[in-house]
């Protein structure tokens, strides 16, 4: 696997202050017409996926995060936030994932 970290095409976009996202929490982040969900797990890993459920285009950041699984607030579709994999009906299409890093107390998402 090619590390996104070293991909010179990746642009690191500022999301929020690191402490604005609590452990076991998710926030919505909009950038240039796209919406993302950015997560901090209970063991302090950060990650990001597409922001809308692949089933009916609802913001996943309004959903419930339990461990590595985000549940869509509308129909309970579930996804693994680390891999984007759809984990339960009615969601059957995976989410895209994006690299996230923390630098200088800021959360950054890698796009492009």
């Amino acid at each position: 696997m090619i590390s996104k970290e070293n991909d010179t095409m990746t642009q690191w976009i500022d999301v929020c202050a690191a402490d604005a996202l609590e452990p076991d929490d998710v926030i919505r982040f909009d950038h240039e017409g796209q919406t993302f969900a950015v997560y901090r797990t209970s063991d302090d890993a950060y990650c990001a996926t597409d922001g809308l459920c692949t089933h009916e285009q609802v913001h996943l950041a309004d959903g419930y995060l339990e461990g590595r699984i985000i549940e869509c607030p509308k129909h309970n579709g579930r996804f693994d936030i680390m891999t984007g994999a759809a984990k339960g009906a009615p969601a059957c299409i995976d989410l895209a994932t994006y690299p996230v890093k923390v630098a200088d107390e800021r959360v950054l998402i890698g796009l492009g």
Binding site: V58, D62, G63, Y64, C72, K74, H75, N76, P90, C92
Partner: protein, 408 residues
Amino acid sequence: MSIRRIVIIGAGATGTAATRALRASGFDGALALIDGEGETPYERPALSKSVLTDAADPPVLLDAATIAREAIDLVSGIPAAAIDRAARCVTLANGPAISYDRLLIATGATPRRLTLPGAERVYYLRNLADARAIRTRLVPGAAIAIVGGGLIGLELAASARRLGCAVTVIEAAPRILGRAVPARLAAAIEARHRASGVAFHTSATIASIDGAGLRLDNDAWIGADAVIAGIGVVPETALAGAAGLALDNGIAVDAAFATSDSAIFAAGDCCALPHRLFGTARLRFESWRVAGDTGACVAATLLGVARPFDAVPWFWSDQYDETLQIAGMPQFGARIVERATGTAAPMLFHLAADGRLVAAAAFGPAGAIGRDIRIAERLIAACAHPAPEDLADPSRPLKVLLRGTVAA
């Protein structure tokens, strides 16, 4: 006895979930799925919404590639005609019989029918053919009468309004949604429909129907180009009953789906089962997720390890851009605690007499209510006794209440 041949009757949410779960758990014997309907197995929730409003095809439950990969013998378009318990085989309507070591009945439910003069003109919504027939009548400007202010009737009302129809809902009870939804939320839902131009007649009984409309018992006349009824469903028990299986408001099963025949199991809308959270009487759930959950759960039992169904029942109903969600069983509550959500109606928590949380219900945009309903579902599963003041105070995150609970 080794289990080498499993037959499933019904290719809805339950039957297809069971086939997937059987293969996922390593069952490599013969697996036949009998689908009398003859469509590619599909999701029903879309039938009252996008199939009507966007002429969309419903999402597919089991596509041809999966059927081939998982080696599922799909019998499509030929209903099961009889179960021969002595010979352990299912006879198809066109003659052949399929033998089983274990049989799963997942025949679902059928709409309850009106019986009154003109009833033959009434449309019902259960399957894809029904939805296609109804779609031809929902043309802009058409007057549509919907009999029954339940979930299906109201979803139909919202879709018909979206398509530009004039909609009247006729409900026999004093209020809509009497069976499954707390009055406080039903009022908010009715107000939402009225704001979109839906007319309601409650405590209204229909005397007769003709090609121009329907007449109520009080002699009032409601003009209608088409009449659609959503007055509940009855479990589809004909095959089971004819085979002599015990019935109890559905095919009678225990918590792990066993019928009165040790080789036959039943799951989904066709059966009634006890649930560890809600007493000992058998219940019917009639929801999409429970249908799928039970289908996945029964796979273990079919393979010889009885696994009781213990997931918290949950359903949604999308109407306009809002959604009703209920986790648990409100009818087991003794008191209601309200929590403001910033939407038109509060979230309602139903507590049993001993303070145990048995249900949570809300209506509003999914993003405003979905997360807290999810958390409530976990509290219900854990038999939590949350403090009413914590539930009532929107400044106290529900998630905190989950700490210290252990999933039972």
